[in-house]
Structure formats: C-alpha cells, structure tokens
C-alpha cells in the first residue's frame, strides 16, 4: 500500500492533486464513468438509439439465468479454466520440478522462447493455430497421416466434438510458459540447502517436489491460478479469430456474447448485464490475488 509522503513547510496541501488531475480526468471519463454506466444500463431495456430507455429492474439478470446461450457461454468459460489454468500450471510445475537444483547453462534462451506466446497478438495466435488445425493441409492432420493414424484426422475447429478442446489447447499453449517462468522466479527463493538436507535424509525427488517445491511456491501458484483464470474468463480475441463461437454455439464464451448482444444486436441492457456479471467475477478473483501477496514473489529474473 502506498503511504504518501510529508508536506514541506509552506507547501499547499493539495499539491498532489495538480499532478494527479490530468490522469485522473482521463481515467474518470474513459474508464470509471463507463464502468458505472454499464452497471446502470444493465437495469434498462434499450436498443442503443431510441429516445426511451425502459427501467426493468432485475429482468435482464433474471432472463440471463434461463438463457441457454448465456449458460452455454459460462460453462464454456469454465471449461476454458481447465485449459488456461489447470493444464498450464501442471506443466509449469512439472518443468520446475525437473529444474530443481543447480542452474542450467543456457537456460535464459529457453526462457525467452517459453514466454514468447505472451507477447504475440492473440489474433496472430489464432491465425497460426487455424493453420495448424487446418483439416486438409494442417500440420496436425498431416502428422497423424505420417505416423499411419489416418483415423485421428479431424476438422478440429469445425467439429462439434473437438472445437472446444482444440481452442482450449491453444490457451494452454499460450499460458504454460508464463506459469513456468513465474514458478522458476519463485524457486530462486527456496534455499538449495533444503534439497541437500532432504537428499541426505533419503527423500526422493518426488518427495522433495511435494514437500519443498510446491509449498515454497504457494504464492506463485496462487498468482498463476488467478491470472490464468481471469484470462480464461476474458477470452475474446482468440475466439473471434478462430471459431467465432462456432460451430453452432460450441465455443461461445461470455466475452463474445457481450459483443454479439450489445454491439451486433443492439441489446444494450442485456449485454451490459452480462458484462456486469463478468466484471464482478473478475474483480472478485483479482481481490483474491492480493490474498496470495502476503509473501512477495521474488523479483529475481
């Protein structure tokens, strides 16, 4: 928490406000007031251009709970949590486990690559994976043919059965490097002597991993979990550039439903209600992050 500093003799008590004001005005106009306005709009029925907005109380929310599209979108977001959060964290832990001990020469090169998907536009990631999953010429189907497993060829992103896990796996691909780098930074805090002592006591690597590495990384695992869960709840660009929610509604997610309801179909109040629910969930998760901050993750990169 920021404490703020002393006032010098003769200095205006409001000095800070002069420095804050320009940023604060932009923030109020383009972020804070819109947040409030989204919340307000969620209690109204409005098409975005007519003069009248009808107050309908909680109707938008009540309708949402019985809207199969919304329920589908939410459940898809939950499935994405498995792919964005759980799988990457497990891979990240596995990689950290094999890296315990003395530093590996040349590791910084690996780290550069592992983090790469984090900096690339999600639309580019979508283009890359649409090609990888291409039913005819895509490398994944080609690979199955090459090893003689033609029956495994699929129209991955166009299939009702496989589209959701296929897009989910793209999420895992993006996130696991992030988790790994986060965990490795945290592991530098765990004293090597712990492992040496454990070896002397005859603890095998699995035991060392479970009793030293995992507890030592508690705060990093918490941070990774929540950051990747938020990413799973916010997913939009990737859906737009791979499946646009299809085939049918198989890969529909809340972010995409907000865009479709409010922007494409002019159901402002309805979209605003979905946005409000999504925002509240994400805010709750973000506040949870602070819970894991008691132990500050290492800054040693």
């Amino acid at each position: 928490m920021i404490t703020g500093k002393r006032r010098y003799p003769g200095e205006s008590n409001w000095k800070g406000w002069f420095y804050l004001l320009p940023a604060f005005l932009v923030y109020l106009l383009f972020t804070f007031i819109p947040i409030i306005e989204t919340f307000r709009a969620s209690f109204y029925d409005w098409n975005g251009f007519s003069e009248t907005q009808t107050f309908i109380g909680l109707d938008n929310y009540v309708n949402l709970l019985s809207d199969p599209l919304f329920l589908k979108a939410i459940s898809n977001n939950l499935v994405f949590i498995i792919f964005y959060s759980i799988i990457p964290i497990l891979i990240g832990l596995l990689l950290s486990a094999i890296l315990t001990g003395k530093p590996i020469p040349g590791f910084s090169f690996f780290r550069t690559v592992f983090f790469l998907p984090q900096v690339i536009s999600m639309v580019v990631v979508g283009v890359i994976w649409r090609w990888m999953f291409n039913p005819v010429s895509g490398p994944i189907n080609q690979f199955f043919s090459l090893i003689g497993l033609d029956q495994l060829r699929q129209a991955w992103l166009g299939s009702f059965k496989y589209a959701l896990p296929a897009v989910g796996l793209i999420g895992s691909w993006v996130q696991y490097g992030f988790c790994m780098v986060l965990f490795l930074a945290g592991m530098q805090r765990i004293p090597l002597e712990y492992y040496e002592a454990a070896s002397l006591d005859g603890a095998n690597s699995l035991k060392q991993f479970l009793h030293i590495t995992v507890p030592g990384l508690k705060s990093e695992i918490g941070v990774a979990m929540i950051t990747t869960m938020i990413a799973a709840l916010r997913v939009f660009d990737l859906i737009y550039s791979t499946t646009r929610g299809g085939p049918g509604e198989t890969t529909l997610v809340t972010g995409f439903l907000i865009y479709r309801s409010a922007i494409l179909n002019n159901r402002i109040g309805y979209g605003a209600a979905i946005a409000t629910i999504l925002t509240i969930i994400i805010l709750a998760l973000s506040l949870l992050i602070r819970h894991f901050m008691t132990e500050k993750p290492s800054e040693a990169i």
Partner: protein
Amino acid sequence: MTLHWKRLLPRYLVLTIFMLVVLLPIWGMLMSAFKTDTQITVSPFSLPETWTLGNFQRAWTVGKFNIFFKNSVVVTTAVVISSVFLSILSGYAFGQLPMPGRRLLFPLMLLGYMVPFEAVIIPLYNWMNALGLRNTYWALILPQIGLSISFGTLWMASFFDSAPQELVDAATIDGCNRWQTLWLILWPLARPATTTLIVLIFMWTWNEFLLALVMVQTEAMRTLPVGLAFFQGKYTSNLSLMAAGAIIVALPTVLIYILFQRFFIRGMLGGAIKG
C-alpha cells in the same frame, strides 16, 4: 564432467520438447510467409526452397497492411507517450506528494486496472457513436489511455513510494521545487520502471483488439490486429499471404520483447502480482 552431463541431459531433453511445442507453430508460420502455398503443404516446417518476399509485398499493398501499420503506429505512439507521461505525474502524486483523499483514490484507480475491457466497451461505443467519433483515432486512443493510466499510476506510484527519502529531502534543501525534484532527481532513477511501463503499454496497445473492432467500421481506420482478422476472413485459403500478414502484426512486439526481455518479464510477472 561426464557425471554432470548425465544429470543435465534429461533436463535439456524435457525443456527442448516443451520449447519445440511453443516454437514449431511460430516457426512454421514464419517459414510459410516466404513460401508458395503448395510448398507449405508439402513440407510445413522446412526452410523455403526459394525465398520469396512476394507475400509480404502483396499483404502490404493489396492487403492494405501499409494502412493498418500506419494506424497502429499512430495509435500506439499517442497512447504510449501520453499514458506514460501522465502516469509519471500521477504516480509521483501518489508516492511523494501531499494529497487529501489518497486512501479513497487508490482503490478507485485499482478498479480500472482490474476490470476487463468488456466492462467499459458498451457505453464507450454508444458515446463515440453519438459524438460521431467512431472511425477516428480519438475513439481508439482515449479509452486506451484511460485503461493504461490506472496500471501506469499504480506502477509508478510504487516506484516513487520506495524512492530514497533522503534524496528528496536533500534536493528540497538545495532549493529544488517539486517539479524539479521529479525530473532532475527522481526521474533518472525511475528509468528502469519507466522502460517497463513503456514496453508493457506498447504491447497492450499494439495487440488491442476488442476496442478497435468495435470502434472502427472503415477499412482505412483498422489497426493491424483487426486488419488481420478481416484479412483472414477474406483470404482463408491463401496460407502464405495470411502468414505474411501475421508476421507483419507480430514482428514489432517480438522485436521489442527480445530487446527488452528482462523489463517485459519483470513487468508482466510484477503486473500480475501488483494488481
């Protein structure tokens, strides 16, 4: 020595496998951009038999990536410069200056950092529509500054808060006013924190998609990610052309990432944590 290698080899092996999983799709896309379509299908990951820049040329001119690139540069430059400048001022206010209401203001700014773009996009879309500002740079720049500023303020505030107080006191005794103390004494120390902020806001703005998708209807105003998304809809079957487009979008962030790696990683891990 041999014993050492026996211990290291399995680790390198696992690392290499997971690294290839990340690298191969990106590598394949990069190589595809220099090939013809038939060549891609025959050997997706090989080096091109004959290198061609034709795909880039066509994406750049026929695909209008020259226009998208210009738009992205204009928007990103404006957002980065103004957000970073304003964040330094507001972060300084939070971290160093007397400011009644600080306790209330802090969570207010934090809110902006935590909410997703979905929380603000609907009213922004309606307002920009009503003001006739859709399809202008303003609609892309101003909301992006608003969201960048909340992170920027918190990021710079935590730097200024931890800056050595003796230095600030000494500067004041020597006759520096607050403005001079900021730019002459503290800002030189803040270079690493500022660099991190610049690269993060650059990356977020360059890759921003939802805002640009919603605010822009005309092709002439599209930024690179939106341009690429529409391009993909139009030239689905033309792999090499799409690959070239994708490389044009990704190259600037990847280059900046490689040059400023440590700042990037520290910022992204710290950003996830500071929130």
